[in-house]
């Protein structure tokens, strides 16, 4: 129907404004748990901005893409989640 080009998540995130901190506000509490993940990598699946990836037997976190929705936190208790430092992280222009 539409001639609309479908943008990748990366393309979409280029439209968003971030102020990136040096430190991650996301972490894995127990990385050993990921080796036998009981949730079928829910963190990877539920994240709308592809923050989580499984690389070389561990979860890697591209925290600078995070829009701080909290979906990963709800889906897996092994995800460590806190608010970025004041002024850092996503900064919506529209919202």
């Amino acid at each position: 129907m539409s001639t609309q080009r479908t943008l990748s998540i990366t393309d979409k995130l280029y439209r968003d404004r971030y102020k990136v901190d040096e430190d991650s506000h996301l972490w894995i509490k127990d990385t050993k748990m990921c080796l036998k993940c009981p949730f079928d990598f829910a963190c990877i699946r539920v994240c709308p901005t592809d923050v989580y990836k499984w690389e070389e037997n561990k979860i890697t976190i591209t925290y600078d893409a995070c829009v701080e929705c909290g979906a990963c936190r709800i889906a897996c208790y092994d995800v460590g989640w806190k608010n970025p430092k004041g002024g850092f992280g996503i900064s919506y222009k529209y919202g």
């Binding site: 129907m1 539409s2 001639t3 609309q4 479908t6 943008l7 998540i9 979409k12 995130l13 439209r15 968003d16 102020k19 949730f39 079928d40 829910a42 699946r45 539920v46 994240c47 709308p48 901005t49 829009v67 701080e68 929705c69 909290g70 979906a71 936190r73 709800i74 889906a75 208790y77 989640w81 806190k82 608010n83 970025p84 430092k85 004041g86 002024g87 992280g89 996503i90 900064s91 919506y92 222009k93 529209y94 919202g95």
Partner: protein, 426 residues
């Protein structure tokens, strides 16, 4: 920052600003901490702000506030793979007495926050409240990267992911089933195109809810702004997890629907955003008060998913929290007993009365996803059958439609569903 305030409000969203404004206007010393660069920059919604409740804090706000459009039409779309049935209510009364406004939160929230500032509240941006500060078991303030802030009462209006409510022990970890993940795009289109496509006058707007495009509890939404559209999906987190679908894929599938695609065609993506919505209802509302702290808005899980209401519950809970602090100060004490009257105020207001009324609905829909999947599909098929013109006799057609209906759902389950709907809403 070791100065002590009557109240420190965490979060400059609708709940926090309502609380701050209420208290500052009564002469209390109020500090608002906002983690974003300015109010609204961390906020997104698929939604509107409501005239009735917003006016309690800012009479005739639409004359000066950065609003987008006032809603004159509410649309309910029932989608099937390549069709839709649309139920829509447009009313000129919404042009006379405004009901709701579409806004961009990054523009509206700073304006709203300015109201609290003008009333005397101090707003500090770029400051995250990391934890509650306790003394002898009582909350006496919050810690921030800039130092501790002391206050008689902390009002946690820090949103759906409220770290403070959790740290204070007021809210357990939220179950997946009680939250919805919303993913939204702001899509720019020329103003005239929006008005043509949605059949709107210059300031008029549409709020649309769409169901029937997912394997479970998926809902889509569309809101018309001045020269952008807010288009997104909301998927129950449990449903998303179990279906193993990716949020962005659900959004793209929704946008590609043949009934939706023409409405957003040639639009330019301006922003991609995501947020959780606490839609669990009454049974998931957090404890809202403890010694030295109150919780308001999304942080307390105050959202009415049935009527698409949230900002008004946030504002009202903020006002009630603010009034509780004012009363406690007057009565000479911020004891947990004085602060616990806040819960009663919420119970007496529409906030918890409405959620209580709908108490069993979220669980009902969770257990009966066919309302979101099968019924919209059936509705489309029945409309299609009704409208196809061929040689079939109408007596045969009606029989065939009845047959189709009963093949998809038994007479008993249809009756049961009708009965349950009646019971849930009455």
């Amino acid at each position: 920052m070791t100065e002590k305030f009557d109240s420190v409000v965490v979060g400059a969203g609708p709940a926090g600003i309502a609380a701050a404004y209420t208290m500052a206007k009564a002469g209390l010393s109020v500090l608002v901490l906002e983690k974003g660069e300015k109010p609204g920059t961390k906020n997104m919604f698929g939604g509107v702000i409501f005239r009735h409740h917003t006016e309690k804090l800012a009479p005739e706000f639409w004359t000066t506030a950065p609003i987008e459009r006032h809603v004159v039409e509410y649309q309910y779309w029932f989608l099937s793979k390549q069709s839709h049935v649309l139920l829509s209510h447009r009313n000129q009364k919404f042009n006379g007495q405004y009901n709701a406004f579409t806004v961009h939160r990054a523009k509206f929230d700073p304006w709203f926050a300015k109201r609290a500032e003008d009333a005397g509240a101090v707003i500090i941006n770029r400051t995250t409240a990391d934890n509650v500060l306790k003394e002898n078991g009582k909350i006496v303030g919050v810690t921030t990267e800039r130092g501790d802030v002391l206050a008689d009462v902390v009002i946690a209006a820090d949103g759906v992911n409220s770290m403070l409510a959790k740290q204070a022990g007021l809210r357990p970890e939220t179950p997946e089933a009680a939250t919805v993940l919303a993913v939204k795009e702001v899509i720019a289109l020329p103003k005239q195109k929006i008005e043509d496509r949605f059949n709107l006058g210059p300031d008029e707007g549409v709020a649309a809810l769409l169901v029937g495009f997912g394997p479970g509890m998926h809902a889509g939404f569309m809101y018309t702004n001045r020269d952008t559209l807010s288009v997104g999906i909301g998927v129950n987190m449990k449903d998303l997890d179990e279906s193993k679908r990716r949020p962005n894929d659900v959004l793209e599938q929704f946008k590609a629907h043949p009934s939706i695609a023409p409405l957003i065609k040639d639009g330019e993506l301006k922003e991609y955003s995501a947020h959780l919505i606490p839609e669990g209802g009454y049974d998931y509302v957090s404890n809202v008060s403890t010694d030295g702290m109150l919780v308001a808005g999304d942080a307390a899980m105050l959202v009415n998913a049935i009527n698409w209401e949230g900002t008004n519950l946030a504002m009202t809970s903020g006002i009630l929290a603010g009034e509780t602090v004012i009363r406690a100060k007057k009565n000479g004490g911020f004891s947990s007993r004085n602060l616990s009257t806040y819960r009663q105020q919420l119970e007496n207001s529409f906030v918890l009365k409405d959620l209580k009324k709908y108490r069993y609905i979220p669980k009902f829909f969770e257990a009966n996803p066919h309302f979101f999947v099968e019924y919209p599909d059936m509705l489309n098929e029945l409309f299609y059958m009704w409208h196809v013109v061929d040689d079939e006799l109408k007596a045969d057609r009606i029989k065939r439609m009845k047959g189709y209906l009963l093949k998809r759902r038994s007479r008993l389950s249809l009756l049961k569903d009708a009965y349950h709907m009646w019971r849930l809403f009455s």
